[in-house]
Amino acid sequence: MMKKNYPESRLGRNTIRKAVYNDYKVVRIQTETNGWGAIKTLIVVGLLALQLSVIVLIYVFLSYLLKWYMAFSYALCLVTCVYVLSTNKNSLSKAVWILFILLSFGFGYIIYFLSDERIFFGRSKRRYAAIFSRAEKFKDISSPVDRPETACDVGYLQNTGGFVAYNDAKLKYFPSGATFFDDVLNTLRGAQKFIFIEMYIISDGVLLDRVYDVLSEKAAEGVDVRIIYDFIGCHKTLGAASKKKLKKAGVKLQEFNRLTPRFSVALNIRDHRKFIIVDGRTAYTGGVNLADEYINEKRMFGYWKDSGIKVEGRAVNAFTLFYLRQWDFVTRAEEEYAPYMNASDCHSGESLVIPYIDGLEFDYRIGKNVYENMITGARRRVFIMTPYFIPDDSFVQLLVNKALSGVDVRLVIPGIPDKSFVYSVTRNFAEKLLDSGVKVYCMKNSFVHSKVMLTENCAVVGSINCDLRSFYQQFESAVYTDDKAVMDDIERDFEYTISNSEQITDQNRMRKNLIHRIYAGLLHLVAPFM
């Protein structure tokens, strides 16, 4: 590269830029960064590390002063391990926790108990239970289901979370974030009563500006505009100026689970749901967040492949109810539900639609179990699209059994990782399936962020990844349907995505590499937290 003659003080800058700038690249897309978010993360991580150090120091101090503390610790260690075994965590988490408790003898159990949701989420769960009982009367009555292929799934969803089956909804599937948000903006422009948004990530940028224009206009017209966003999801992306601007425009903003520099399980519980509800007539969910990369306005990891679904009809009631319950939880208020319910007309249709959510307010891991039930019921095909594939043994075994039984099992994962260590584990898990006949595809030059599962009986579109965080720790949302048109659209999307993907075979698998296998094996130790 030719350099201009700069004074000495500029040379340092040159050096830094050269390190960042890969000079073999002819084209480089400019993206934005927010340095303040990294500093905030650093401060919080530092404070957490400080607390852990204090715990360790206390332990060292106690063990020095009180020899018998060792015996006590040993007993507590064993009790904790037995306790871990008795929990309903997945087997990988149990194994990792027990290993950690035994290795960090004497203080590992303290960290475990500080991280146990059964203890520290108990109060929140009781609050959820109170909200649920208050909201019970607003639930619709399920429509009759006569298809035997979906009857079990419907029964499961009704019995575990009380989710309602509708047969009069109108659905539309979006194979990309760009088309999804174009439709969302059109719907928002027609809002008359309320706009409810729940997002994991909201990011400053063109998309937020476009949405802000509509929201501020609507708020000025008297429309009730509310947004729930996840604190961790947004802390690096949504600036204070944007929050202030939204609040000034009359938008009610609520953050979910603010990060405090206090070590607790709450750090790991995130609201990963994505909802947009307009007037109780239209609802959207899917994998997309409110950020430029989801509509490919900002380039992060090649082409961003995402998907979403639009629901119209009585089924939107379910979304409104989910939202109002969450709003009550985050605001600790008792919202009047009646003005927001039953706003939608009936649509003609026979397809089954069940909007459902998952989270720690439920006793069952609904997201994971619905996926597993779908796989169990499949006789012809199981197509999965997910950005992360870090499931537990039962999920992997189901896929292996189905593939070995002759079912066409296909898994589409990204070709470009967003987090290299998570991708290594994802590839490792995916490649383990190859021997059983599962077809694994990596979408070329793209980051696949869609969370879709399709069998010959039904489909699920939502925010639920095939990983342990989505299955066990996060609040998720999805739509279960057997709508033929939607299933055809999803099938076409799979065909298109697969045609732009590279199939992983014995020749190009990563697991052949010994270093990668060792690296992936070590990463398995932290897989439950990914």
């Binding site: 590269m1 830029r17 073999y24 002819v26 990309s176 088309t179």
Partner: protein, 185 residues
Amino acid sequence: MTDGRLDYRTEDSLVISVRKDKEWSIRQKYKKFGWVQYRMTDDSVYENIAHIYFKRPHDIAHKDELQLLQVNMETAVNRLSKAERYKNYKSMAWGTAIALISSLSLLIAVLLPLLSFALHHLVACGIFALLAILTLAIGIPVNAKRREREQTAYDKLTLQLNAEIDGILKRAEQLIGVNDEEKLS
């Protein structure tokens, strides 16, 4: 070229950093995707880098496919440039190693008799001289073959990537053309 104003409500934007010697050809490629340049600035540090600002109507048909094609095109262009830059790096490394070994052996072979004419020095001198000659005699033709193979591989990759880029641009042109027709109808 249009004026510098951009309406984010109706237009999408894209900013790329590009080497000035490739700027024209890159700009032509982006044109096929419907992008119109509205601004260009020089990099504040590098003389041979320019930042090009493009815009395109937000409501454009086949946008998803165009976006994917564009990413594929960018990847192919960067791969092409990378391939060009690193086309001979293996043979260059081998060549350097051969030159180093032979010159070092030759140097030792010359130095040893200068230190003393002891028998073992003379034997070692012969061995090092032989090593230098053998390294040059075998290394140069082998490395020349390697370089030839690298060139062939590079030519093949260049052909493949250029064909890929041409295919992408052709498809993009078709999609944009379809869009124009749709607009006209």
